[in-house]
Structures are given as C-alpha cells and as structure tokens.
Symmetry: D2
Subunit: 141 residues, 4 copies
Amino acid sequence: MSRFTVEEFRTLMRDHLPVAVAMGVEPLEFGAGYAELRLPYHDDLLRPGGTVNGPALMTLADIAMYAAVFTAIGRAELAVTTSLTINFLRKPPRADVIAKARMLKLGKRLAVGEVELYSEGDAEMVAHVTATYSIPPDRSR
Amino acid sequence: MSRFTVEEFRTLMRDHLPVAVAMGVEPLEFGAGYAELRLPYHDDLLRPGGTVNGPALMTLADIAMYAAVFTAIGRAELAVTTSLTINFLRKPPRADVIAKARMLKLGKRLAVGEVELYSEGDAEMVAHVTATYSIPPDRSR
Amino acid sequence: MSRFTVEEFRTLMRDHLPVAVAMGVEPLEFGAGYAELRLPYHDDLLRPGGTVNGPALMTLADIAMYAAVFTAIGRAELAVTTSLTINFLRKPPRADVIAKARMLKLGKRLAVGEVELYSEGDAEMVAHVTATYSIPPDRSR
Amino acid sequence: MSRFTVEEFRTLMRDHLPVAVAMGVEPLEFGAGYAELRLPYHDDLLRPGGTVNGPALMTLADIAMYAAVFTAIGRAELAVTTSLTINFLRKPPRADVIAKARMLKLGKRLAVGEVELYSEGDAEMVAHVTATYSIPPDRSR
C-alpha cells in the first residue's frame, strides 16, 4: 500500500515544489513504490521541431521518482537525486505527458527506480529514465 | 573559433526556447565546442533543504550542451538530445549556477559532450553531466 | 519473429566474440527485439564480498543488447554500443546470471534497449542496464 | 597524497580481483583521488570491426575507479559500484588502453568519479565514464 497519498503529494508540491506547480504537474495515481503523474501540455513546453522539450521530460521524471520514493517509505522531503539517466526515444508530440515511476530497489541509503514517459493516448514510450535517490538517515517515518 | 555567437544564441533562445527565457538563462562565453551559460538564482528554483532543484540543473546543462553543439557545427536547431546522465555531487546553495559545456566528440551523426556545473564563486563542482546529441542530416551549415 | 537465431548467435560468438566465449556466455532464447542469455557462474567472476563482479554483469548486458539488436534487424555485426548505463541493485550471489534484453526503440540510426539482470532462480533484479547502439548505415539486411 | 600505493593495488588485484589479473591490467600511477592504469592489448580483446571491445573498456574503467577510491580513502575492499555510465567516443585501435580516473566527489557514503580512456599514444579520448561507488560504513581506515 502506498505510504503517501496523491492528496498529500499535491499539498507537498504546493508548499515545497514551486517548479512542479509552475509546470502544472498533477499526481494521478500512487501505489506502493509506484507513482503516475501528468504534465499538461502547453505551448511553453515546445522546442524547435514542434515537440515537447527534453528538460520538461527530465523534470517530470525526477518529480515522479521523488513521489515514488514517498509512496515506498513515506514522507522523505530531504531525499535527493544522486544520479539520473534519460534516454529519449521518440519525439513527443503536442500532448500531455504521462510519467510512470516504479522502484527497482529500496535500500537503507539508496533507492533506484525507473520512469517510463508516454504521450497521453499513445502506447509507445517517448523516454526512459533511471534515477537514484539518496535517502536521508534522519527522515521522518 | 566558435561557429555561433552569444548574441545569436540569445536571439535563438528568444525565438525558440521559451523554457530558457522563462528561467532567465544567459549565454556568457562561447568558443569552438565550448559554451558557458549562467542560470540566475531566484527563489522559484528552491527545493526542500534550501538548495537549487535538480531539474533546474538538468535544464541548464541541456541548454548548455545544445549551445556547445552550435559552437562546433553552426546553427543546428533540430539537433536533439538522445541521452543525458547527471551526477549530483554537492547541494547547490542559493546562488547563480554556471554551466561549462564542452564537446568530447563530434561525429557526423552524434555529438557527445560533458557539462560541469558550479555555484557562482565556488570552485567545487555541484553536478556533472554527459549528454549525446543527434545531429540532423539536413542541418544548415 | 526474431531475425536471428540462438544457433546463429552461437556461431557468431565463436567466430567474432572471444570475450563472450571465454566467459562461457550462452544464448538461451530469442524473440523479435528480445534476447535472453546466461552467464554461468565460476569462481573467477568473484570480487571481494563474495559476489559476482560488476564488469561481468556489464559484459553480459552488453552482449545481450548486441544480440537483441540482431533479433530486431538481422545480422549487424558492426553495430556498436554508443552509451551504456548500469545501476547495480543487489549483490549477486554465487550463481548463474540471466540477462533479459529488449528493445525500447529501433530507429534507422540508433537502437535503445534495456537489460534486466537476475541471479538464476531469484525474482529480484540484481542490475538494470540501458544501452544505445549505433546501427551501421551499410549493414546487410 | 595517495592513501594506497601501486604496489599495494597490485597485491590486492592478485589476491582478490581475478578478472583484473586475467586481463593483465597494470596500475601505473596513483595520486590522491587519482589512478592511472593500463590494459595491455591482446587479440582476445577484439570485436567485429577490429577494435577493442566495449566490455573491456568498461571493465578497465571500473577497476580504475575502484583504485581511485582507494587512493582517496585507503583500503576499502568492500566499496561497490552503484552505477556507471559509459559513452563510447571513438573506435579504439589495436593498442594498449590507458585509464585515468579521478574523484569528482568524496562523500561519507558515496564517491563519484570520472574516467577518461585513451589508446596509448593518442590524445583523443576513446571513451568517457562516470561512476558512483558506495563506501562501506565499516571500511577499515
């Protein structure tokens, strides 16, 4: 069962993640070690070629992994990304982007996960991310 | 010698990279296969812990590599990132972030580079990025 | 349907991949864009801590992706890895290692895939790999 | 000053790193947070195209980072790679390969470094690696 709710994450975003709020990121569904979020399309996300820009995808993926860590261990505000790798697979069209993050490993000190990114309504992945989070020793449980 | 000027990149950003403009990214210095840019600090960049958020660093690094590709091959608007790996090294304090991007390899189809990120005025790297760009076959030279 | 058979890959390894032969790598099952291989355990694979060494896992993963590219596009001997990222998740015990590689994207110039590595008989992934291959323009189809 | 000598690493390899010995890896020069090693060329390293195979480069890079960690913190046999990213830049010809590893960050729990790989006698980098090592809490100092 998820240890953090969509509603709790929405509050956390509002209080602590201005970048997520500014982009309009919406948490959709959380499970234990799983988080699904949406990035609504808007024209400021475009880059030359008429596709959604790469940094927007990386930002969404990072927030999705952050959420997935919370679903696994509860509120851990000070968890920080230590590394992230993204592979861009297809040019994302002008559409909302959906991120599906899941934990691959949850250790005491490190959490590793992968995030699949899709354009809404399309079954082909547009980008694939793996990321590692450092879990603070003193996080509240 | 750089095949693209700071002034030309500023114009390109204004016309085609709304995300860079919104963040206030400033090109500082270009050389052949080298680009240095600044991300001015503002409070919207904060994340829990009082440090600059990771996505802001990734965004800056990606734009810096994009610029470095231009300095090496000239305007190549449709060059796209194919993969990017970031390692976060130290928590960036509330300060401007400087990106220094340089090409490691410039092939016909792929360009690979690395980006070092620093907090202004501090010699210790805050994050290290490697990224690969796909170069369009039909780019104007 | 796979465009390359397990038997063909065994022959290719024998003729062209001495490193794979020396390690005893065995192709197990191929599908279209999918390849499963085994690395038999032997004591030379150990590292301090009594676990299988990381380079052995990376080597197996790289060979598995190479095979997966063949299953998708047919023999493409000159396909080369352009980048590879591995996340080590758990310490692999003294046991055979199984690699499951599948394509995430097959473009004209680049193929991107992911490889999951398991210790034989254990459902928990020991390492996760993403890799990009450059596809030669003149490969035989 | 290096906290581990070339001679000590040679002994460690002989006792604990059979893969390094089998490949003939030679430590060349150590500094504080810096290690330079050589992989002598031999025909078993070839892959189709007549170049040194990628796994050999990854293996050398991983061993070089392991050595660099030792130079920085002393013997830490149980340090383990947590992630590694390699970008292949140029096809390495039939020649010895030199690895130059240096620490980018040395934390209490994680060490991050980069490794540059060269063909002996050639100034152009053939591959670039970043890697993260987890430092055991109980390592002997």
